[in-house]
Subunit: 172 residues, 2 copies
């Protein structure tokens, strides 16, 4: 396969993956482009390569910078900004996990803890209220587990991450 074709396919695949993850297709494509580009790219470069508007590039590179996946790079004597993607895939995974934990796990955990205590009421049997609290409690325990696991992985450095998961996959 030719390099250009390979790049195109990777950008497309990464975009599809992103859209399954609540990340906009374009944001994932900008990320993919920066991931496989050796140097940093300017807004114009990205516009041209992905065929998207200036506003769209600006929006998406800033979102990627929020996630910590892309950094602004200033070159002496150049007025325009260049953007470069985090190339270490373990760091990429960690940053994504961190952001998703903050955005998704935390809100649902807040809801779970708020709704766990159901007040007695004349229209609801005690058994019904208890069953509800139990279901919520189970979900809460599981979410706690997921949250603590995510926190541990996020704190860990790359080597620890790799070796632990290797052990996990090949127990004994």
């Amino acid at each position: 396969m030719q390099l250009e074709e390979a790049k195109r396919r990777f950008i497309e695949g990464w975009g599809t993956l992103g859209s399954a993850w609540g990340v906009s297709r374009t944001m994932a494509q900008v990320h993919a482009l920066l991931l496989i580009s050796a140097g940093a790219l300017s807004t114009e470069d990205i516009m041209e390569q992905l065929q998207i508007s200036r506003g769209n590039v600006n929006l998406n590179v800033r979102a990627l910078m929020d996630w910590g996946l892309v950094r602004k790079e200033l070159r002496p004597g150049e007025r325009r900004e260049f953007f470069s993607g985090e190339k270490d895939i373990h760091k990429v995974a960690t940053l994504i996990m961190k952001e998703r934990r903050r955005r998704e796990l935390e809100p649902i955990m807040r809801v779970l803890s708020e709704i766990k205590q159901v007040e007695p009421s004349p229209t609801v049997s005690e058994a019904e209220a208890k069953a509800f609290s139990e279901t919520i409690g189970n979900i809460q325990n599981f979410a706690d587990l997921a949250d603590r696991t995510a926190a541990t992985i996020i704190k860990a450095d790359e080597n620890w991450f790799l070796s632990t998961f290797m052990k996990l996959m090949r127990p004994g």
Copy 2:
């Protein structure tokens, strides 16, 4: 908090979580409703509780059945169908992981293996082609790791899952 209010909040929260995960809000809400309902519900029940149309209920319960998260329940002497949600939250997590692995991890892995071999070409330096293959190789290794981890967890039973993750969280 009153039970009705608590239920409403859970359904809303679960729906929000779902939409961050590329699952439609309504599908997640139907799932949430069935998760906290003691018995099985009919199409009419779901329509009424979530205030959505018949076609929408039908579409979403069938999607949930595809994921294995909801089962059809037939009652002797009743013509209509009832639906009940998988209540075991570990099974829910496993089923979701399995489905996402199939839908998301597998396609990107196929793309990665296809694009790894970049042909030499007059317009592309050898160094450039090599750098690209290396980047893709790194992503591929990581995806393999994620895939094998997911496969292991999916195969494992609930107790194994719990105990391994407990160890993971409290190493030593």
